[in-house]
Amino acid sequence: MKQHNIINHICTLGIVFFFIALSGCDEQKRVIEPFIPAGNRIVLLEEFTGKGCTNCPKGSREIENLLTLFPNNLVAVSIHAGFFANPQFFPIGQYDFRTEEGEILFDYLGPNLGYPSGVVNRIPVAGDMQIGANAWASAISNEIQKAPAIELTISKQFNHVSRELTVTVNGIAKEPVAGNIHLSIMLTESGVIDAQDDAEADPHIVPDYVHKHLLRDMMTPVHGAPILTSISTGQTFSETFNVVIDPSWVADNMEIIAFVSRVEGNDFPVLQAVSAHVTD
């Protein structure tokens, strides 16, 4: 009787699992197709990093990987901010790459769930504004497929003697946009040599690490300059800003990154970005 019971239970188990196993066999899997970017959407990637963050060079390599993959559709800025960027606690190298704007953006685009983290077009992914490096490519390719609501161009003038930079951003709406439109202009510098903690290097403190896309300054207020309360199709705008570039920065290695975002409370998606070198 006892053995009979056990056999009954085992048979029941077998039948249940047989049907469950069957349900898993006939799946149509998702075919992964290499993504080939097209169109004129330019996506903004803001990376939060720090010299004391041992995994952050992995993020920097991913940025270069993505810029190679999307040369015409991606602009990137590396913002040294937060815990791992504080030289008092991570006294690595000689420079403090933090900026006042970067620290504000670190909170504005938070919360931070770890380093390196990145924000793609200031749009949350699955509820998180800052996302890990393994999710950047996906978020960027999603955004590239959206046509830009506004198209942007940059014209600039740089005086090598006075080091005054004048940037004019011109925009034209390709579709109507309701809501406050803010324009942000960032200045970045690449080719800056200073030490960095790198988990994949041996030894892991790399004294001559080449830092790229460092946020140096903003020509607009940190949350962007409010330029319009709405825009209709075909409407244009032109905004000009000036700054004197710090003499310690190498102008030839600097880039201007401009972008417009629609700001409504806690939503501030980037509509389009554009970049240009400070010098030609």
């Binding site: 006892k2 019971n5 239970h9 029941t12 188990l13 249940v16 699992f17 469950i20 196993a21 349900s23 898993g24 799946e27 899997k29 998702r30 075919v31 992964i32 197709e33 290499p34 993504f35 004391g52 041992t54 995994n55 992995k58 390599r61 991913e62 270069e64 990987n65 993505l66 190679t68 993959l69 937060g82 815990f83 791992f84 008092q88 606690f89 991570f90 006294p91 919360p111 931070n112 769930l113 770890g114 992914v125 699955a126 509820g127 996302i131 890990g132 393994n134 999710a135 490519a137 996906s138 978020a139 390719s141 999603n142 903690d197 790198d198 988990a199 994949e200 290097a201 030894p203 892991h204």
Partner: protein
Amino acid sequence: MTPQRTILGLLFCFMWLSLWAQEPVSLSGSLESNVNFYMRDAQIGAANTPQYDHQQIGTDTWLTVRAQIGGFELGARYDIFANSSLLNPTDSYTDQGLGRWYIGKKIGKLSILGGHIYDQIGSGAIFKAYEERALFIDNALVGLRASYEISPDWTIKGMAGRQKNLFELYPSILKGLNIEGFESLGKVTIAPGIGIMHKTISDQQMDALAGSLAQYTPGDFIEEAPYNTIAATIYNTLSIGRFTWYVEGAYKSEDVFFDNYAARTLWTGEQSIGKFVLEPGYVAYTSLSYAGGGLGISGQYKRTSNFSFRTDPFVGLNRGMINFLPPMSRINTYRLTARYSPATQDLNEEAVQFDVRYAINKNLSVLVNISNINRPKEEDNHDIYTEVYTQVTWKKPRKWTLITGVQYQKYDQELYEGKPGAPQVQAITPYLDYLLKLDQKKSLRTELQYMSTDEDFGSWIYALEEFSISPHWIFEASDMWNISPKKSADGSEKLEDLHFPTLGIVYSAGPTRYALRYVKQVEGIVCSGGICRLEPAFSGFKFNLTSNF
């Protein structure tokens, strides 16, 4: 449904049931509140986070209420995190809301439960939904569970839902089935079980995953990704006289998961570490134990390969875990013997553990525990953990208890704590715990530990004095002294033999306990059941309130 609506719904259910059942309501609950007062101390690394920079006070609170009425079971928990360091040790997290609700009913042989469900299948290898507050783990399954008693000793259980993600839900769908029972065949008993867990990731998750995989170079490219993953387990406990043998085997079908150690080639031609891979996985676990005549012997073996089973392929660390793999090292409790604890490696781990206990007489017993963990598929960081732990317990009933022993550890800090270039920590730690009963109410407990190591922060001495006046008061004072420092907490070259003192007072009044401590705590790893979390350095006061009502 918003939390407010859920609370209102529960209140409505509760009131309706009270009226309908016309019988007394059984109400109970609990409160746990931790308040941290942050006092910056850059010298020990307690600085550079929003809490130390400007927030000053942080709190984590859980208030639980349970009710039983008319055969129904209802419950809810309200969670508050204000300036909390639990989510990210280097940042601050603030949110509050309904952390749990549930309603259940037993109808004959059928039991149903809806809401936030904590449960597991077998040892948890394919599914374990649980809450571990110190590690900020709360991976409740939010959905429905139904279990049916096939016979008094056999139960079948099914559940479906989505995993909790803070105050939201992950989008993937989880479904599980478990049958387990018990049979006695004379002197032999068996407790077999079989379970299956099915995960379907959402279209949104698949789009995100496909978006990442589509950018991989040809050598790393994955052509197809499954929406569904099935994990199945079969287990049994066989008892024959004084022997008990547990065996479990679990298999997971092909699943895309992030392998932190896999090499990837970028489009720039550079190599980077970490990529998504598509692999099946398995776990084999067994333990054999003997207990009798004052002797207890147990041996365990576990082999894990690619058994990362998460509800979202993009989450890591302690987030989104569907399963739980049992740890294969001793769970230590003393401050220094617990300083280096190995987290379970779900991608590649082979581990053995032996434990022998012998009671020489009623007052004297000895224990030896040996564990070894390695990564069989890796050449680098192959042997990652070894521990030999000895303990002698000697008692003079109603007078004193002495627990003493020595621990030896070899711990791969580079792997377990993600600290590149960190050498393996080798530590020898003698310890002593002496409890002296002064009279029927008063007792004095002394802990002394010395950790000798040339790695990490260097050698430590720890001393604790704890004076208890039963049943209300405990006064404690301790110091952890970095007697031979090798590394400065603030990263500078200046080495100082820092002290990390704690002064505390605990008052208990029935089911309520109040604890106030002044704490200086070195950074370290906090583990529970093989799941670990980096605990940053702390300086300030900690107030803890727990109550059951």
